[in-house]
Assembly symmetry: D2
Homo-oligomer: 118 residues x 4
């Protein structure tokens, strides 16, 4: 079983082994998360919408995207662990709100209102 909990455990042990927990404040980890998202944006910034939709067709681009998305996941997982937040539970709690807030019949296909997830 490779799941979120196992990933958080691995990151915790990684930091402990190097005595790096001292640097892993929520503030610092949120900055690192933002830095990694910046690198992800850089992979997509000059692409047309269509090019961005096909970005995984090219093996080199796919490898870079996979790497950047992984980095974001790693810092998000570490941050959530430090904060004591269950990522899956927290996401579903927000989506329960979204289900009520964005009724299907009202929002279907509407581009007038920016289409969010949350």
């Amino acid at each position: 079983m490779r799941d979120l909990e196992e990933l958080a455990d691995r990151l915790r042990r990684f930091a402990q082994a190097r005595d790096w927990e001292q640097f892993h404040t929520p503030k610092n980890l949120a900055m690192a998360l933002a830095g990694e998202v910046g690198e992800l944006l850089a992979e997509l910034q000059w692409l047309t919408p269509e090019e961005s939709s096909n970005v995984m067709d090219d093996p080199e681009s796919a490898a870079r995207l996979r790497s950047e998305v992984a980095d974001v996941m790693i810092y998000l997982s570490r941050l959530a662990d430090v904060l004591g937040i269950d990522l899956i539970d927290a996401a579903h709690a927000k989506l329960d709100q979204s289900d009520k807030r964005y009724a299907v019949e009202t929002y279907r296909g509407s581009a007038r209102k920016a289409p969010p997830l949350v």
Copy 2:
């Protein structure tokens, strides 16, 4: 079992029901992810390191943090689904590299080199 796959499925169905898949290009989703990370930063930006470490002690702050972290998770999950990336596998692949790159004996407690995870 509530796991990452179930979350991705829920997000996909949420978007399909509202005909919002047309907006969910990798480019757009990466921007939305970055926007949510910006909101997360805003919760932590004026705190001292110590205050950020204790941010979950206050129920109101904790609720806001939980909400912002959830939003980041939601867009990351949706982006990974659209790109066909397995978040857990991709994260472990990066950490396999980090294990080799940052040998425990060399990097232990070192603040000279910025302490990363990846």
Copy 3:
């Protein structure tokens, strides 16, 4: 004359009058800058390239964009002031490098290589 120096002065006095200089570390200001850029992204994230190019045609959108761009400018100005960096000089120094690095004849119209400014 309303220039960058005058703006930096106004921000410095604004912070001094409220005893907020204590919060204006480079680290905190960079986070605030990133938070404001996140709000700017949120204005543009679901737009097509064409819609984004016409975003100033709608008075309400234009006002929001103007406001978000201003917020970014404000934190960038304040950060540069705290760091003692002249924004204009620093930008030209980078562009001097870009002039050499991206020769017109080599890069003209090329979309293969991501078209940067710096």
Copy 4:
């Protein structure tokens, strides 16, 4: 005179000479801006508040900070030019609001309310 207008002119000519204006939509430029802010955050993310306040004392750190701040300025200038926004005027308009919103006597030294600029 080296001012904001001259910088915007130089960036416009730089893009025109390489036929890169086609890539410089507000959406793409905002993403590039966010990417550069991410690199700036990466320079500061593991520093203590005190270390971040002294970051310009080390010549190598100072050069990197100057370079990253310049990149942010460059994309902000280009974005504002494409949108037709005067950065200085827009910033002062926001600060006129802040002057009213954050009365000195109410907010002086207060850390309870997050100390903003805008």
